[in-house]
Amino acid sequence: MEQHSRTDAYSDRYAARAAGMVPSEIRALFAMVARPEVVSLAGGAPYVSALPLDAVGDMIGQLVAGRGAEVLQYGSAQGDEGLREHICEVMALEGVRASADDVVVTVGAQQALDLITKIFVDPGDVVLAEAPSYVGALGTFAAYQADVVHVPLDEGGLIPSALRESLERLRRDGRRVKFLYTVPTFQNPAGVTLTTARRAQILEICAEYDVLVVEDNPYGLLGFDNEPMRALRADDPDRVIYLGSFSKTIASGLRVGWVLAPHAVRAKLVLAAESAILCPSNFSQLAVREYLATQPWREQIKDFRELYRERRDAMLEALDQLMPEGCTWTRPAGGFFVWLTLPEGLDSKAMAPRAIAERVAYVPGTGFYANGEGHRHMRLSYCFPEPHRIREGVRRLAGVVEQELRLRDTFGGVGQSGPTGVHTPGPHVV
């Protein structure tokens, strides 16, 4: 009996948008990252062990025992009203004044991103994003066949003049820009923060070109030095759609995020959410609501800040001491990530297998660009490993870079590693 078969027998049935959903061999390498021998500077997982787990456990137990009929039932597509009121209190810390009526609770901010892209973006529409930009957003934009145009950033965040140039060029080319996607505070992956002066400029330019802004702000409350930065949304409520998340301030496993949108957009988002998921998990929402109502959440965020500050310090100190000459990196004032640039001729994606062999993992920079750039960069996260592990990870990484430099000297700069593209992120990469 002759048999013809394919690795995927369904490959000729998929929608065109599925063509952009490409797993990568990097994803396979990450199968090793879960092993304790590997120091992972790759994942963006918050250190949830720092939560008062016993108290949270008791709280959830009581919630189910006392109000199980509500907690375990469907809820509304827009999300629990009491939780939405708490969300407004949280956003007030960053200067945002909002009505609970304009908040839609989502399954993490990632779903908010999906819904926004779904209601705004037709195939071929332009979405502006920082270079580099959050890998999960790029995956969503690719799934909706958006044309991502990157705008460079530097230590002060998105560069206003570069934004203006891009918008001008796109206007000349007759391209329709649907929105600017930005993570202005403690950016993922670059770790940089948009300065106060630039915030005003960016909003001004977007107003001039009539472009919406999607402000993704999961790390805003995790600053190490100052009071929280004022959100873009605080200064232009009609232009800015704000995405928030409890993943980093409470627990990522609960998958509770939200979107705050102008009233009319909110109505569309609720309908889109309903068709996608009916409603977000009532269990998770009420757990978060109860946590905000009964637990010292502001103090807990302070604890998280201290914990991550110590880890940031450990990483920067180790990088300063150990990395070979020619490497540069950002110095984040909050959040989870350092963005490292390798010496000319080195390729972070090509050297990933060697790093894994040396038992250290990072995310190659190419994942954070929709256009195949980023070979000389890598994202290092300090949120999860303990400080002594971070130091060990950086030590191993420095050794790998030394070996790569030697290889470069042997073979010369040989261009870039194989095909790139937007790869669907696993949860370990967010």
Binding site: H4, S5, R6, T7, S24, A28, A31, R35, P353, T410
Partner: protein, 313 residues
């Protein structure tokens, strides 16, 4: 004789960990469907204690990559006197090192593409461009570059022009410290699995691989896509006979046991060229051995059970 307690070993700390985990689950499910009591476990720091305290009747290693295929895990199983499926450690070591395996099968009468294997230090010490130039002078173009050890085509790439060779070498050295540069043979890419029940190796029908763009790389192997498999391969009767005979010859010459998978190219003149052999073939839903098993009218669970029973007293 019934199997009371079987351990399927999968995962491990290699680049092919994910593939191995998928292979392990597949073998475990196939055995469980036959009510064989199976434990699926990783090769980690808890393994030895568990094998000592609760010795299984036999172990089925489906660890890919180093440790799984270079004989070291099997060495450990020998130390513990735990029976296992597959080749013995010394045979694994020979098969795992592609240049050594090529020499052995060449002595046994098989064709294998002309090649050179060099560690990266040679390029550093003698100057990469001079060494690469000599390689191209000797072997010509196109070439195929791969790590001397390792599987799943990780770090492997074809080279059609001399200018591409440096990049291919760097890609290869990301996965290992030595490279095998082989003359690229045009032809039909086939894979022949050999199984051994009751001491007699038997080749299963050759599986032909038609990869998109002609490149059967890691993505084409394991990620759902357009790679096409045709079983039995579209070969002339003579070439099909030569391919299955070559796989059995390689299995015997390398002293393998229970199961192996040999990758071959059949050229336009029906000549068969040996590329490499795998002592722990992939068992995933897209892998070649399970396809051959199915086309041969066999059941994967029964096959795995028989291979395990080979090792019971």
């Amino acid at each position: 004789m019934e199997l009371g307690h079987v351990v399927v070993l999968a995962g491990g700390l290699s680049y092919e960990r994910e593939v191995s985990q998928r292979s392990g689950r597949r073998v475990t499910e196939a055995l469980r469907a036959l009510d064989v009591p199976v434990e699926l476990r990783d090769a980690d720091a808890t393994l030895l204690d568990s094998l000592v305290n609760d010795p299984p009747d036999a172990v089925f290693p489906v660890l890919h990559g180093a440790a799984g295929e270079d004989g070291s895990i099997r060495d450990v199983l020998e130390l513990l006197d735990v029976p296992y499926v597959g080749a013995r450690p010394d045979a694994c070591r020979v098969a795992w090192d592609k240049p050594t395996a090529k020499s052995v099968v060449r002595r046994a009468g098989l064709n294998t593409p002309e090649s050179v294997a060099l560690p990266k230090e040679v390029f550093h010490d003698l100057g990469a461009s001079s060494v690469l130039e000599q390689i191209v002078n000797r072997l010509g173009l196109p070439l195929f570059v791969k790590p001397t050890r390792g599987g799943s085509a990780l770090g492997a790439s074809p080279v059609h022009e001399a200018a591409e060779l440096s990049a291919a070498m760097v890609g290869c050295f990301a996965y290992g410290d030595a490279a095998l540069v082989e003359r690229y043979v045009e032809g039909t890419e086939v894979s022949v699995s050999v199984i051994e029940i009751g001491g007699e190796p038997r080749a299963l029908p050759a599986v032909e691989i038609v990869a998109p763009g002609g490149r059967y790389d890691y993505t084409a192997r394991y990620d759902a896509g357009d790679t096409e498999f045709i079983t039995p391969a579209r070969l002339s009767p003579q070439a099909a006979e030569r391919a299955t005979a070559a796989a059995v010859t390689a299995h015997r010459a390398l002293g393998l046991r229970d199961l192996s998978r040999t990758d071959l190219i059949v050229d336009a003149d029906d000549e068969v060229h040996f590329l490499e052999v795998n002592v722990a073939p992939g068992m995933t839903e897209t892998s070649l051995l399970p396809r051959a098993v199915s086309v041969a009218g066999l059941d994967l669970g029964h096959l795995c059970q028989s291979l395990l029973l080979n090792h019971l007293p």
